[in-house]
């Protein structure tokens, strides 16, 4: 199965990143030859999505031959997605840096496919699936997390409601684009319309990704996710999170301890060159929010599904032998 879009191209001496800020209008690659350039690309959101950030950072370390500075500059690029720190930790312990970065990338792709297969079993034969932000091939090494579950459900009669995901519009720009390329029916709405559609019975299931999952199952994800979870709960709609094991942070006891990135005001006062809010207005711009475990029907991972997540169930999943994984894949380190 080939990914329809290639956000990350590794050439051994350089990394090419698809500039996601310009999608869907232009397909332009940014070439990075140093860890500092990779860190800048992550900070500026040339590449985004927790798993993709992890893979990209690993290649960044490899480009700088594991220099101390490469770890420092990459660790400071973005604070919330734990996949970044997870990947840096693996690179710190690795002997062959290029091979390790390539392994992280390959394992993420395999994890997404496993999640897709497992998650698809949760999607009804005929379903209107709501999702938020972009969690597709663009956000990962390929296939996608939540969008991977949707991709793997393509043989069913599904349609997707994509929330546009202000302020950065990943839903409108990236998810709609990937779904149209894939030929999956997609309806775009503003984030403010999700409640109305749910109240009219037009949503059967919600699937989103994650940027960091605490030990108790609380999930940090793109701003607006928490609101969808609250609405889904009110309407009795199943709410699933799809994320690889690299997104779990067992050192963080609960969601209140997850650092939430606050980004620049100009993302809220307008978009790209255009500005619509009055000059000088004060802005808040948290890029993520926290959905408490109690609102989550299940967390889909490559190793199995944690239903009604609790501290004990998350610990059980993380300690389980990969060989015993529901996905049936073996030998993953």
């Amino acid at each position: 199965m080939k990914a329809t879009v290639e956000p990350i191209r590794w050439h051994g001496d350089r990394l090419e990143l698809l500039d996601q800020r310009l999608l869907p209008d232009q397909t332009v690659y940014v070439t990075c030859r140093t860890a500092a350039e990779v860190a800048q690309a992550i900070r500026d959101m040339v590449v985004r999505g927790a798993p993709a950030i992890g893979c990209t950072a690993a290649f960044g370390v490899a480009l700088d031959k594991g220099s101390k500075e490469s770890f420092a500059v990459l660790a400071k690029s973005r604070p919330t997605a734990v996949n970044l720190f997870w990947a840096l930790e693996r690179m710190r312990k690795a002997k062959d840096l290029k091979a390790e970065a390539e392994a992280i990338f390959a394992e993420d792709l395999a994890a997404n496919r496993a999640m897709g297969k497992l998650g698809a079993e949760l999607i009804p034969k005929k379903a209107r699936v709501m999702t938020h932000c972009n969690t597709g091939a663009l956000a990962t090494a390929g296939h996608g997390t939540a969008l991977g579950v949707i991709r793997s459900s393509k043989n069913k009669s599904i349609s997707v409601v994509a929330c546009e995901t202000r302020p950065y519009l990943q839903g409108a720009r990236l998810t709609a684009y990937e779904l149209m390329q894939e030929g999956i029916p997609c309806t775009l709405i503003t984030d403010s319309m999700a409640g109305h559609l749910m109240s009219r019975g037009e949503v059967d299931v919600v699937v989103v990704g994650a940027d960091r999952i605490a030990a108790n199952g609380d999930v940090a994800n793109k701003i607006g996710t928490y609101t969808l979870a609250v609405l889904a709960k009110r309407h009795g709609i199943p709410f699933y999170v799809a994320a690889p094991l690299s997104t779990f942070d067992p050192k963080i006891p609960n969601g209140s301890r997850i650092p939430i990135e606050e980004r620049a005001a100009d993302e809220v006062t307008g978009y790209r060159g255009s500005r619509w809010a009055p000059e000088g207005v004060k802005v808040r711009n948290p890029a993520f929010d926290v959905t408490p475990a109690e609102l989550i029907t299940g967390i889909i991972t490559e190793r199995g599904i944690v239903r009604k997540p609790t501290r004990a169930r998350v610990a059980s999943l993380l300690s389980r032998s990969p060989a015993g994984a529901a996905s049936g894949r073996r030998g993953r380190r």
Copy 2:
């Protein structure tokens, strides 16, 4: 108290409407000399806001000397705000059309001031008030409904969290603009951030307007309002609706019967000249949603506050003699 902005200027032979599509960048007035021009201005959102639409339509009838066509074209301009149909009904019965339109305008301004005074009693001395869309001087004959309550609370230590209100960005463009002109501290957020701020204890009370209120207290208002009400309920935050009596539609038994306008796709796929969603993507664009009465702490009107609205309490308010109104104003027909 003079309104800081003048959305509607009546000159007897012509109506000047502040083009709200261009705010806050440009202050341009559109001149209407016929009911058809007024209807077009309402449809295109030169003027918006339920009470302002009502006033504007009344002037439109007066411009055409009450012709049958004037009623027909105006009734078709926008479907949800009942103030439009209420104003047309008053004009249909009136003998002196100009005097009646001027009375509708003057009464709306007086109603807003009365609501502001009554509603301000519900706002704590120190409060962070969240609001949605624009319900200020721009949406009414002056002062505002929900924003009027905020204006009348200016002597307290208040700050406002304004939701940007996609797709049309009335919060970012109009509410932020009015609040800055008024010197009331204002923080702009995207609609998707409301839940996060509530979960962090950063919102004390929510006040919104209304486009139509059913006999049982269900409220149709700008898309996104329902979501704020669900979130407020979860967090135990009081949720108030401020609307004049002209917004009540006792003939509609409950919210499910309120017609919800679906607007053009290009409002969702971009903003003004810029487009960010892929060409050909399917879109939903309901302009309003319905908040059930059970989520509403109180409805603030010029005649008093309906706490925990029910069919009986709404009927009681509507049948109450204006002379006995809590606002103390007398002689309003």
